[in-house]
Symmetry: C2
């Protein structure tokens, strides 16, 4: 079995955290200057590892093995949330890089072929996992034409041009090219830590349904507009949000989550009755039936508020990502590797977070592996994982990859 | 009695609307480049009108009469709301300018002394009516040191330096310098229009209490953080706002208004549980007792939510501007002038909007006059007033000023 190099692994992780470093974390949204730089650096490291790297027309970095024979795809994403953590999700990309190096260094595994990918925009600044979607042929040119930065409203086409990628073709996976896909990631929750476990074997990834709710009223003066004739879009948004929080628990499953993470008022000035308000609502569950119950409840609430007025309510579906069940044989391979390197501290669990594996998994057998997040913190610059857990996880991941390729 | 020149008046109003024009309105926040330019232009026009203009250290433009004898102060503000209207409140400033010109052109009134002022930051981008407060000695250097732009967080000191005003002294009114203060403004509401009136004689200005509510929770991942352990600052804000809207009507008077015009989530990303949320709440009434009831109710609600958790709530008082009752003799003067030029289409009414008159009125007898707002719209670029109403209002305003100075 391959031996990974923990120092080399941690060194690469610390180095790539320099691109967009923010306090103890990283601010590296997809196609930001720091993100583009980091992708060039990553391609260089892949080349040093003996892979043939390409940065494609959506920003995916793919290091292709020069070996023949059965091929495994390893990867994750290297873009980050705003002011996010240093390991989410670049750890999985550097794991892939380290596994490729470790396999090549061991004569017994030097013939094994792994491609290593860093998917574009997993964090959804431009869309929803556009990089992995592009790689499996589920992203059209029109999707890219339409894509705007979720905060700045700028065109993805312009950002791709600024990154020098506008003339670059997008790579697509070929039928039968891979035996499957493996992705490692930090847990982003507190279950492993709380249970004293060090390796999470992901049985399924939750589905995520996401909606934009837009409220339109009449903008007016906050002093001269009598309460009875107001059409305050901010009040309309707050009242509907309140109903969502009151009524969702009744249809929720034990692990369901629902969130309004983004909101805006227009013009957002203290002395002006807001004429427009917008919020983004998402909910997640591993059970499609529950997701559909949430959706029906939301549509009910929207219809009630639209009928009640005085503001209009529009609900646009931004995305409906279905839950994905992982490949049982791959889960076994990870479990066997964990039994060797992390006896009794591994556990099977679902993923509450969305991951590229749920996109690639639409076309390939796929599985994921988690390492613990300290304090369960993520999507924040204080996110972290113990060095020993990072190293242990990579060794388990390397063994699992070798097992899947060699079939033992 | 002086004869105002309607064409000259409208010409000046249309010219100054070029500074920061936005669609049919104006975007000219205090100390923006467009605002600074417009103040220089205003000072030029004052000089042409025979006044001695100064732009002082806070941005007030004051055109001082060279005449001796009893002196009246006329003014309003020339800064605007974001993407606001073309008349709010520069119409009152240009009225003052036109009145000064009309008085000077009539031998019978040429000896009368009026100073004309454009007050800084009435719209509160940096503070609360800082210009008029400065002129009556109610603004300290420390207030200016502390002042930050409400949206951009930039320092007012830096903006004053950029405007070349950092070395300029602030002007202050002297004891006994004026017989009183008159301000004209658009109504910013629909009462005049609805009642078929063309002149509003303002009996009182409502008080405005304003608060910043800050909610602190824990920022985390929207997929991996179970609902029971979340500390979602956005939910905390929405729940408290909901209680405010439920409970304020019980303590409100017939003309009370309350508004949340500004809100923010941090980091404001769809897949992140907000760790921080902020909203600005204000309420207005002409009756101090009602304002105090609102404040007590708000403090109750804040205490309840803070006790309930899971997020912390902080409520900071941003301002407590008391209602102001206008000077009865001045109201009579405006009414007499209106009886001549606008018989049967004038009415006494309170002002739901705050105005510099409530600051200057702390030191001087003061009164205000309104002209109709088409559709009652204001704080929006579509705000407008019929040309003939603008001209009529200025003639009434000029007569009233002359009456107050001559005592007949």
């Amino acid at each position: 079995m391959p031996q990974i190099n923990g120092e080399r692994l941690l060194g690469d992780l610390r180095r790539i955290a320099d691109f967009g470093r923010y306090q103890t974390g990283v601010h590296r949204p997809h196609l930001s200057p720091q993100d583009v730089e980091s992708r060039r650096w990553l391609a260089e490291r892949m080349k040093e590892a003996g892979l043939d790297p390409v940065i494609d027309g959506i920003g995916n970095v793919i290091g292709r093995s020069t070996r023949s024979g059965p091929r495994l795809l390893l990867g994750s994403h290297s873009d980050t949330q705003p002011r996010g953590g240093w390991l989410d999700g670049v750890m999985g990309v550097i794991y892939g890089l380290e596994v490729a190096r470790a396999l090549a260094e061991d004569p017994a595994t030097a013939h094994l072929a792994v491609d290593v990918a860093s998917w574009a925009d997993e964090e959804g600044h431009w869309g929803q996992m556009m990089g992995s979607k592009s790689y499996i042929g589920r992203l059209t040119e029109e999707d890219i034409d339409k894509a705007r930065h979720r905060d700045e409203g700028t065109k993805m086409r312009d950002a791709l041009a600024a990154a020098g990628l506008d003339k670059t073709p997008r790579l697509q996976m070929e039928e039968g090219q891979y035996r499957g896909y493996l992705e490692a990631h930090i847990e982003q929750g507190g279950l492993l830590e709380a249970g004293g476990k060090r390796i999470g074997i992901v049985t399924a990834i939750v589905g995520i349904f996401q909606y934009r709710l837009t409220f339109s009223g009449i903008q007016n003066h906050a002093g001269t507009t009598p309460m009875p004739i107001r059409k305050d879009a901010g009040v309309a948004m707050m009242r509907l949000y309140n109903d969502v929080m009151d009524r969702f628990p009744a249809v929720a499953g034990p692990r369901s989550v629902w969130t309004v993470g983004k909101m805006m008022l227009e013009p957002n000035a203290p002395a002006i009755v807001p004429g427009k308000a917008e919020m983004v609502l998402q909910f997640r569950d591993a059970d499609v039936a529950i997701l559909e119950k949430f959706e029906a409840t939301l549509q009910e609430i929207v219809a009630e508020h639209a009928a009640r007025g005085p503001c209009t309510v529009e609900c646009v579906t931004l995305s409906r990502t279905m839950p994905l069940v992982m490949d049982e044989r791959f889960l076994d391979a990870i479990e066997e590797a964990a039994a060797v390197h992390a006896p009794d501290v591994h556990v099977r669990m679902p993923s509450g977070a969305g991951h590229d594996a749920q996109i690639i998994g639409l076309k390939l057998p796929a599985a994921m592996m988690f390492v613990p997040s300290i304090g369960g913190i993520s999507h924040h610059f204080t996110e972290n994982t113990a060095d020993e857990d990072i190293v242990l996880g990579c060794q388990v991941f390397a063994d699992a990859a070798a097992k899947i390729l060699t079939g033992n």
